[in-house]
Amino acid sequence: MNEDISPPIAAPAPVSEAALRLAEAFVFASAEPVPLRALAQILPEECDVAMVVAALAARYAGRGVELVEVAGGLRFQTAPDLAPLLRRVIEVPRRLPRVAMETLAIIAYHQPVTRAEIEEIRGASLSQATMDALLEAGLIAPRGHKEAPGRPALWGTTAAFLAQFGLKDLGDLPRRADLLVEVPAPGGA
């Protein structure tokens, strides 16, 4: 037999098992914390609600689940010390946003390349947030500066980029010439 944890309070006047069971079930099945008033309404009239609550709390003391009193009333919750053991990490991989993917592709094929050149190729301006996302993911890294007015930073892909795409090296990517066949002639839509 497992030893019952003795109630911290000096045993009060006996609380009926029936009242204890009902209070337990009510608090358990409620979506919201149960106000003491609501609890009093379903308990037999002669019941001292505070004593029922104290007895119930004592019964759960030290267990995996505890009876706690929050702003709105009573509720059960798992013991805080167990939270780390109950934590379950669900991995939900995400896709890069379209702009980031396009930017990454341009950097992969044109590296080392400046931000202005990327914008020129995409025909659209590039937000710092997009560059930051790629940097944070470790997919791109600075590759020195271009010897031009303002000495803009040059960007290239990283080893992590190769690893994440499952490439041995950049030569594993299809050659640009093979891809560009599909690009419409200038002036086309």
Binding site: A29, Y109, E120, G123, Q164, F165
Partner: protein, 256 residues
Amino acid sequence: MAEAPSEPLIETLVLRLEGFEGPLDLLLELARGQKLDLARISILALVEQYLAVIEGARQVRLELAADWLVMAAWLAWLKSRLLLPAGTDEAEAGEEAAETLAARLTALQAMRAASVWLGARPQLGQDVFARAAPEDFSEIDRSRLILEVPALLRAYLAALRRGVGQRRYRPPPMTLWSVRDALRRLGAMLGSLPDWTDLERFLPESEGSGLPRRAALSATLLAGLEMARDGAVDLRQEVPFGPILLRPAGLGEKDA
């Protein structure tokens, strides 16, 4: 032959016809009135009871849903077969049909019982309650990226297409040697020339060949003509399509 149902029962059934879910439902009710064990009911008695109910219903009101009448007609056929002496083919067909009917009634009765059994169980949300305020300890980790080469290529092609589409067609700037350039160059070089000089010597070295060179040549010729008109230089060409020669004006004898 099993005992016939009492008249009041038939009367109630006639009035309640619409409370049944169809002929099979009524047949099952009649069968249950006969005996508790469906395997031993008398199909013939059942048929007679059904036909009696339908007959009663038709006396009360004329219209009756088609499926009640279809079942009545089929049961009348079944009755005629069941009354034949055993051993004939027709009697056998009747017995087979009676067995099928009994099996259908048994199957429906079983499902009715299953439904009652299910309904008697403590149901979640009705009789027993689960925890209404569950705690979620799962953490969503969205840090990993789905990265595939095909998606990279699609993105690259999409970027190029859009880039090309947005760029307006601008012919590359043609920095051709202009007449003004030629005038400036001729003016600067003129003083250093002692005598007749081929016009082509005045061309800038940077203009190699082709269109830029021809443009420079014609600009220089035009500049030469303009300067000749102003009397700054003399021009001459000895044979058609031969080299055009140029010298500062007043250097030698006058030529036409």
